[in-house]
Structure formats: C-alpha cells, structure tokens
C-alpha cells in the first residue's frame, strides 16, 4: 500500500475511504511534473528579472539534445519544497561527446547544499571518474544549508569530498565551471579547482565571506561587485577566466571550448575541417615594426598564422601583456602563449607568469600541442614586483613550460631577452624546435641596456660631445655579436623562417611531432614553486 506515512502534501493517492483515486503511473507522472518545475514560482520570477534561466533551460541549451540520463531526480522527494534537492545531475552530449554535469537549481532554497545535494554532486563526479568523461559544474548556489550542516559539512561524504574529487579529476578529464550566480564561502572552491571558469557579468560572484559578513567581522564596507564580482575576478584576481554578458553566451563558450579537448587525458583532441587563414591587406612583415622597442599588436600576428575564426581566448582581461588561447592550425588544436608588446611592453609580471603556468598545464594535460610566440623584454624589475615575489611566480611558469611533454614549438618573433627567453620555451627547455624570424634578437639584455651596464663608467668619463657616438658604436658592435645568423650558425636556433611561410612551417612540424611520446622524468611529483 503506497504512501501512507510521510505522504507528500500535493499528491493524494488514496481517498479518505482508502480507495485509489490515481493509478501508479499517474502518481509517478505527477511527481515527475512537480519535481521538473523546480522551486516556487516567485523564485522563477526573481531569476527571470535578473536574466537568469531556469536550470533545466540551461541544460537544454548546453546539450546537443537535452539531458540523456539523470540520476537521483527524486532526491529528497518526501519533501515537496526541495525538488531534486536543488541540483540536477546527469549526462548529456556536447558536440556529440558524452559529458557529466551538475547544475544547481537556485529556485530551490537558493541552490543551497543539503545532505542529498552533496551526495548527488559526489556521485556524478565519481561517475565522471569511472567513465573518464568531462565534468561540468553549472554553479548558482548560496552555499551550505546551515540546518543540514552535520549531515553535509564535516564528514567523509561531506562537501569537502567534492573538492577532493575535483582535485582527483584534475588533469584526467576536462572540468569546466559556468558561474551563473553566487559561489559562496566553501562553494567558491568549485570554480577554483576547475580548468576554466566562465562568469556572467552582473550575476556571477565568488567570495569566501559576503559583504555583510565582511562588514560585521572585519569592519570593511564594500559592494559585492567590488569584492567578488565577475568583472573583478576576470580582470584583477584571475580566479575567473572568461567574462560573458549572458547565460547563453557562457553556454556557447563552453561548447566551443570543449571542442578543442579530448574527453580525457588518454586521448588526443579531435581535428576539425581545416580552414584557411584570415585574409588581410598587410602581411606579417608589414605589421612588425623594425624598431624593437616600438609596440605592435600580437593579435594581428596570431590571426595571420591560425585557421580563421578559431581563436578561443582564455583570461583575456587578466594580465593582457601575455595572450593565452586555444586555436587551430590546419584543423588541429594548438595552445598559444604569446607576449603582447602592445600591453606593458610584453614584459612578464607575476600575474602573467601565473596565467601562462596554468594554461600550459591545461594544454599539456589534454595533449594539446603548444606554441610560444616570443617578443619579450624579460621579467619586470623593481621593488613592487620583487615584493610580490616575481621570482617564485616566474618559476611557476618555467616549471610548467619545462615539464610539458606535448609537441612544443617556440618562435622568436622579435626580441627574446633575459629570462624571458627561458620562460617562453627557449632552446634549453627541450622545445621540439626553436624557430626565429629574421627580426629575431636573442640576448641577456637589449643593446641599450647592455651598453649601459658594461660601459656606464667609461661613458661618464667621456666628454659630453663624444658620448652619443661611443654609445652608438658599442651598440652596433653588440648587435653584431647577437646577430641572428650567428645564433643560427651556433645552432642555438633550429631554423630562420620567412614570416609569410611560418604558418606552413608550423603545420608541417606539428604534423611530424604528433608522434612524440615522452615522459618528463620519473618521480612521485615535483616540489612546485608556488
């Protein structure tokens, strides 16, 4: 006899005389319909006002053809007010590939986590682990349900396990976070352990303590946007990677991003139909200024060597002096790390080094070949960056770059000075090749700095009128000494390439290096400079 105890309020299966008024099938359908609607209508309206879509609508947009399988749909179904316990978990297809997903339902207790919410998230993660499928997190959650804390917070199957699982999944399968609403307190670690975090401007936020808590506990008055908003995280803290205007934009980005990845670390990414390079009036030679110190726009260079419209940039607004993004050449994915001379002279800073380190690890984990485009005056110097620990941040970039075993090509576009050469996969770090354009210049430092460093006293002793001529003479000598043909003769670089032939050269080399299969070294793991 079904449902006499704990009978849900909305569904009465038995009438007062004890007779059935609904068939089993009807009851099931009614329950399904109730759960599928999510939380109370007023919360749906509230979300709509903010431009937020209902969780099931999000999933409809995300998958090729809706969610294929869903587990624990009935979680907490004895309580009518908590449909699916505020989270949808299941598997659907993106670009024809099965992926696992967990998606908060913010119409149900603000997407907060109860005991079953956490268990559902853990189970879908463990499914992703068993099947080795990508794992997506569609986050819109107020955090822990304080009333359930003993059941969901501290224990073996408590929320901490979500992060433990994420850490275990990291590098095995792609993990993507789409942030549609808040990701508060402990919940903020879900994005932190994902490969990439896409944030919707105005709605998404991440913070450990809310502005209200900050005021109460430390006395700081601050707005949510300033402290943990999407724009701040995508441009200042670097915890966010991609800033988008709307939820459909976020979903489109995730679908595009995933097309560059294999489903797990055992496989290589799928090639797509090759496309021609974009057509431009100016050739590569024409966009590179002869004066090494004058800026130019590295995006113009990138667009002249990749398949048209294939650049999928990561962290565009964070540390823009270094560009990182996925692209395709002849249809095959290539991860690009490029100095941007137009921003901060292309100098490397602590943030740019961190940005590079994470991107390199991402590509290396999922067998995406790397391309380094160098035009770098070196790492920044001065009090500010030394106090910020630029040495250890730079070391992170060197370590990630050095350890990467995917096909790795470095191209010296213009200058490669000092540790900039090292950080950008210089010859000592086992790139499969180090190519140079005729505009390349490799040195410990540029001619101006070098002549200053070596002859400072001599210059000071000279009469004023002789100084300029002396400096020029020494600079010319220095330039001859670091001449690119001399470096080619010493086999420091592997080839000098005509700029307009670079794309073809790269396509050939990546095709050949595809056979690469190496292990960096044997050990448990390195002791990372963090």
């Amino acid at each position: 006899m079904p449902l006499k105890k704990n009978e849900p309020q909305i569904i009465r299966v038995i009438n007062e005389e004890g007779g059935f008024i609904m068939s089993y099938i009807e009851e099931l359908q009614k329950r399904i319909a109730h759960i599928e609607k999510g939380g109370h209508e007023k919360y749906h309206q509230k979300n709509e006002e903010k431009g937020k879509l209902f969780v099931r609508k999000r999933l409809e947009l995300l998958f090729d053809e809706g969610i294929d399988i869903e587990d624990a749909f009935f979680a907490n179904c004895m309580d009518d007010s908590l449909p699916s316990d505020g989270v949808v978990t299941g598997i659907g297809k993106i670009n024809g590939q099965d992926v696992c997903v967990m998606a908060n339902d913010s119409t149900v207790k603000a997407g907060s986590w109860g005991k079953r919410t956490v268990e559902k998230i853990l189970r879908i993660q463990e499914t992703a682990m068993t099947l080795e499928l990508p794992m997506l997190y569609l986050v819109d959650s107020a955090g822990a349900r304080i009333t359930d804390q003993i059941e969901m917070f501290p224990g073996r199957r408590g929320a901490g396990r979500i992060f433990h699982n994420q850490i275990k999944l990291s590098g095995r399968v792609p993990q993507i976070c789409l942030l549609f609403g808040p990701s508060a307190a402990g919940g903020a670690y879900i994005p932190a352990f994902c490969d990439i975090v896409v944030m919707v401007d105005g709605n998404a936020s991440m913070y450990l303590g809310s502005p209200r808590m900050a005021e109460k506990v430390i006395g700081e008055k601050v707005t949510l946007e300033e402290m943990g908003g999407a724009r701040m995280h995508c441009s200042v803290s670097g915890v966010g990677d991609v800033l988008v205007k709307t939820e459909p934009d976020a979903i489109d980005y995730a679908r595009k991003y995933l097309s560059y990845f294999p489903k797990n670390f055992r496989e290589k990414p799928q090639p797509m139909e090759p496309k021609d390079v974009m057509k431009f009036e100016k050739s590569i030679e024409e966009i590179i200024p002869e004066n090494q110190n004058a800026p130019f726009n590295m995006y113009d260079f990138i667009n002249r060597i990749i398949d048209a419209d294939t650049f999928c940039e990561i962290k565009k607004k964070f540390a823009p002096e270094l560009i990182t993004g996925l692209s395709r050449m002849n249809g095959k994915p290539v991860g690009i790390i490029a100095n941007q001379p137009k921003m901060k002279g292309g100098v490397l800073f602590p943030d740019s080094a961190d940005k590079a380190a994470k991107f390199i690890q991402l590509c290396d984990a999922f067998n995406i070949p790397l391309l380094f485009l160098m035009d770098v005056p070196g790492f920044m110097i001065g009090t500010k960056v030394e106090r910020a620990g630029i040495i250890r941040h730079g070391a992170k970039m060197l370590a990630a770059m050095s350890e990467a075993t995917v096909p790795k090509i470095s191209v010296i576009v213009r200058k490669a000075y000092g540790a900039g050469l090292y950080a950008m996969a210089g010859p000592a770090f086992e790139p499969d090749c180090c190519l140079a354009l005729p505009t390349a210049q490799i040195a410990v430092m540029g001619p101006e700095a070098a002549v200053n460093a070596v002859y400072a006293n001599k210059i000071a002793e000279l009469p004023e009128e002789d100084r300029a001529a002396f400096i020029k003479e020494k600079q010319d000598e220095y330039r001859d000494d670091i001449d690119i043909y001399r470096l080619a003769s010493e086999m420091v670089i592997d080839a000098i390439i005509e700029p307009n032939k670079l794309r073809e050269e790269l396509i050939q080399r990546y095709r050949i290096y595809d056979a690469k299969n190496v292990v960096f070294t044997e050990r448990k793991h390195g002791v990372y400079p963090v």
């Binding site: 800026p295 901060k344 002279g345 920044m380 500010k384 540029g446």
Partner: protein, 71 residues
C-alpha cells in the same frame, strides 16, 4: 571623470596630448619608457583632457595617476 593611470613603473618619455584636447577611447595620452620599451598609456573612455599630472622625464610607479579626463 576618468583617471588615466600608469600600468607599470617607468619614465614619462613623451606626453602626446595637451590640456583641453579632446581624446577618443584608446587614444594614447602619454608614452612611458620602461624596460627599454615604449609603453603607450591610453584613455579608457573618450573625453576632454582636464589635467596632466606628470612631466616628461618623471618617474611614475604602477597605479600613479597620469592625467584626468572629463567625459
């Protein structure tokens, strides 16, 4: 009102606008010289240059205000 700030430490090499000039978004205001590179510092929004707070040859630190632009 918009404060145009130095994005990195360096010397003011050239000031390329004058007080009273109308400037567009992304138009260069000053060019710093740092790490032997020319570092253009541009306006983030269009407007009129109200004040220039540096002189050529000055050292500026990251975050220092270089100019003020009124929308």
């Amino acid at each position: 009102m918009q404060e145009v700030k130095a994005m990195m430490a360096g010397n003011v090499w050239k000031i390329v606008v004058a007080v009273g000039d109308t400037v567009e978004e992304d138009q260069d205001i000053v060019i710093l010289e740092s790490m032997k590179m020319e570092i253009p510092i541009a306006a983030e929004e269009s407007g009129t240059v109200k004040e220039i707070k540096v002189a050529e040859g000055d050292f500026v630190n990251e975050g220092d205000v270089i100019a003020i632009i009124e929308a």
